[in-house]
């Protein structure tokens, strides 16, 4: 590293979203010819910090210097003018436009007449270095994801970026493409660019970075040089020391009940925007809570959808209570006693414009049928009785779902799904975004369901939660089951590496 002023320096960056403190970063700097990795779990604040640097968010506080000069960055366009470029996870390319057109849109100093020939000269040298060998006249939509990412990088560089921020770039890449990306990063660094590489995968970090900044809960908790860093140190910084978890009293372990769910080598077709499951097999018995751990985006949503009948598997078997359920419709799956608690209550489980009463009445099969209309009194009665069952006060029946708080929306979903005693509950990040009290209430609900011989498939990113609640744990990574664990192994040091693909995952 040189003694020249840093390409970018950020000090005292604070950002809040409502009550949530997303960033509280004392200092952060990147120099020319350096790759700084920004690591941490989901929700640690890495993306937020980058978006602030790129002008996408305005921070509540913070001082920024670019090449020694003090600046305020108010928009992405301004950030680009100062030489800062960012490659988002979901790239900002327009699929219908060609490669050269997407680039031309960002290059500021083109004449009025444009054509592929003009950009070719500028593109060629950089494209060769990046290993991008596609026809510039191809629409971006036809390129493989790895190539699209290269176009995005090329675009930012040609728009004048000297500092490039890469937000979880390997998330969308296949393993072979990842190698190509690392080469690109090394090339760029050698040419004198500065790079910020955001990731939660430790193997990548150790392969690419010159310096590593670890973030947790919005703060940078440690900065290491490559020579000082190894997996153990990084994991300790990322996950924190394992504190003794005070668990609420749990119902005693039960003898395994009947087989509720059987998945046998489930494989789903690859699809843009979805993770393909590969050879997923699991069993779930009544009276058991099976946790699925993993960073979100590794196939959790797809797995839940297969269980619920929302996604058809390409290969593999699915049995519910012994019956072959591979071709069951969603309605039939629900009617057989399966409840679904998705992660986005308002987006996936509720009708925003409907009242609480109307939302409760949906999706319950025959329960509320009364001739042509619905048995609204029974709906109201169920809401009343939910008070005792679910430990929180009933919601006003005429409130519109869209104006309820996030916590109340989730409670509405829980009420509806749990009120008629389902036999299998599929819960996808059910406590995400909830306050402590609601979270505790939800966990108690699952525990009681288990005591009542229901089976629960619980997807969560919160290891503490999984350790407290579950009887068994599987880790999902890149569409496969990376490991199965019983309660003796319930601690972050054992499970964490499996979640992030660390080399020492034993």
């Amino acid at each position: 590293m040189t003694d020249a002023p840093a390409l970018l320096e950020a000090n005292g960056v604070v950002k809040r979203f409502g009550a949530l403190l997303a960033n509280d970063v004392a200092e952060f700097a990147v120099h020319a010819g350096e790759v700084v990795a920004l690591v941490g779990e989901n929700g640690a604040g890495k993306s937020t910090l980058c978006k602030i640097l790129y002008g996408y968010y305005r921070p509540d506080a913070g001082e920024f210097r670019v090449a020694g000069e003090r600046l305020t960055i108010t928009s992405p366009r301004e950030a680009r003018r100062h030489g800062i470029g960012m490659v988002f996870q979901n790239l900002s390319l327009i699929p219908a436009l060609t490669v050269w057109e997407n680039i031309a849109l960002y290059v500021e100093d083109l004449p009025w007449l444009i054509g592929p020939a003009q950009l070719r000269r500028r593109m060629r040298r950089l494209a060769d270095r990046l290993g991008l060998a596609v026809d510039p006249n191809l629409p971006v939509g036809r390129l493989a994801v790895g190539d699209r990412q290269k176009v995005e990088i090329l675009k930012q560089l040609l728009a004048g970026a000297k500092l490039l921020i890469l937000d979880e770039p390997t998330k969308v890449l296949a393993p072979q493409e990842t190698e190509g990306l690392f080469r690109t990063i090394a090339e760029l660094r050698d040419e004198g660019y500065g790079l910020i590489f955001v990731t939660h995968k430790l193997r990548e970090v150790l392969a690419c970075a010159d310096r590593i900044a670890v973030m947790r809960q919005g703060r940078i908790v440690g900065t290491l040089r490559k020579s000082e860093a190894d997996e153990a140190t990084l994991l300790a910084l990322m996950f924190g020391a394992a504190s003794p978890v005070v668990a609420p009293p749990r119902s005693p372990p039960k003898a395994p009940g009947e087989l509720a769910l059987q998945l046998d080598r489930i494989t789903t077709a690859p699809e843009i925007g979805a993770v393909a499951l590969r050879d997923v097999s699991l069993t779930l018995r009544s009276g058991e809570i099976l946790g699925v751990a993993g960073v979100s985006g590794n196939g959790q949503r797809e797995l839940a959808e297969v269980v619920l009948g929302l996604r058809r598997q390409l290969r593999g078997g699915k049995r519910l209570w012994g019956e072959d359920a591979a071709t069951w419709s969603v309605a039939r799956v629900r009617e057989s006693g399966i409840a679904s608690i998705p992660d986005d209550a308002l987006g996936l489980a509720l009708i925003p414009g409907f009242t609480v009463r109307e939302n409760l009445a949906l999706g319950s099969g025959r329960r509320y049928r009364a001739g042509l209309d619905l048995d609204w009194r029974r709906v109201a009665a169920d809401m009343e009785s939910s008070r005792a069952q679910l430990h929180f006060p009933p919601l006003p029946l005429d409130a519109i779902a869209a104006v309820l708080s996030g916590g109340n929306q989730q409670r509405l979903v829980l009420t509806r799904e749990l009120v008629h005693g389902p036999k299998l509950i599929v819960a996808l990040y059910p406590t995400r975004g909830l306050d402590a009290r609601s979270t505790q209430a939800v966990r108690t609900v699952f525990d009681e369901a288990r005591a009542a011989d229901a089976a629960v498939l619980l997807f969560s990113e919160d290891l503490d939660e999984l350790f407290v609640v579950c009887d068994r744990l599987i880790v999902l990574r890149e569409g496969r089951i990376a490991g199965t664990f019983s309660p003796e192994s319930f601690n972050p040091e054992t499970i964490g590496p499996w979640m992030v693909g660390a080399a020492n995952a034993a």
């Binding site: 219908a96 031309a104 849109l105």
Partner: protein
Amino acid sequence: MSTPFALAVLSSSVMSGTSLLYATLGELVGERAGIVNLGLEGVMLIGASIGIAVCSSTGDPYVGVAAASLAGMAAALLFGYIVIGRRANQLASGLTLLFFGFGVSALIGRPFVGAAITGLPRLGLPGLGAFDLLVWLGAPTAVLLWWLLFRTRWGLALRAVGEDPAAAFAAGRRPDVIQYQALAVAGLLGGIGGAHLALALALSWDEGMTAGRGFIAIALVIFARWNPLWAILGALVFGGAESLQLQLQARGAAVSPFLMNMIPYLLTLLVLVFWGFNRRFAAPAALGRNYFGVE
């Protein structure tokens, strides 16, 4: 099919296809920027009525065409204010423009029903026949638009807005300004389309004289896959269906004109189905959506 017959069909196809071509090109530019104008028929009618009115008053058909194009632009910009400035639903606003156009054109044209006007003069090119200026300029206009859309910064920005206004905004463009500009062009061309119908083909005014051509043009935009060059072919084909059946009738052939007139629409629908199956639908991705700014 004998040569004189073929030539007659071709010649009248070109004549009747020209107004379609201009209207289609105009709608195409608007749709490439993400705005669908169901009221194109209304714009054409306004163009036609203003064309007749001004031509009859001044005696000069070219002035009539110029006035028609300006009137069309004004109507389109009014529509633009409603859908861009007030963020109203595009389909409902378009149908409203349709009614508006019907009414306003009838009012403008009323004093000129039955008036004798001098139509657009025909200019002959050796070996190619004699057509009016707008016909000669039709294909070149399409080429010009192609070039504007695909070879200039303005065109690139316009297409970006039609695909993904948020991405265009992130790249530093202003979607609403660009959409207004696109609609100005659309209205200009739509007005010319109506003017050609009145001042070159019919040489008179009649209420509702466009007879659905505005909607045919909307279908033509889809048929042409939003590409101005294909629009030339499309206008010929659709204009040809009409003239073919007229020529056939004149020769006593027994093909139902109605069945022939159905072909363009059914053809378009079939093509859409085919593309839908193959998921290669080429519509601008943000067509019909209102853009609400950075969220």
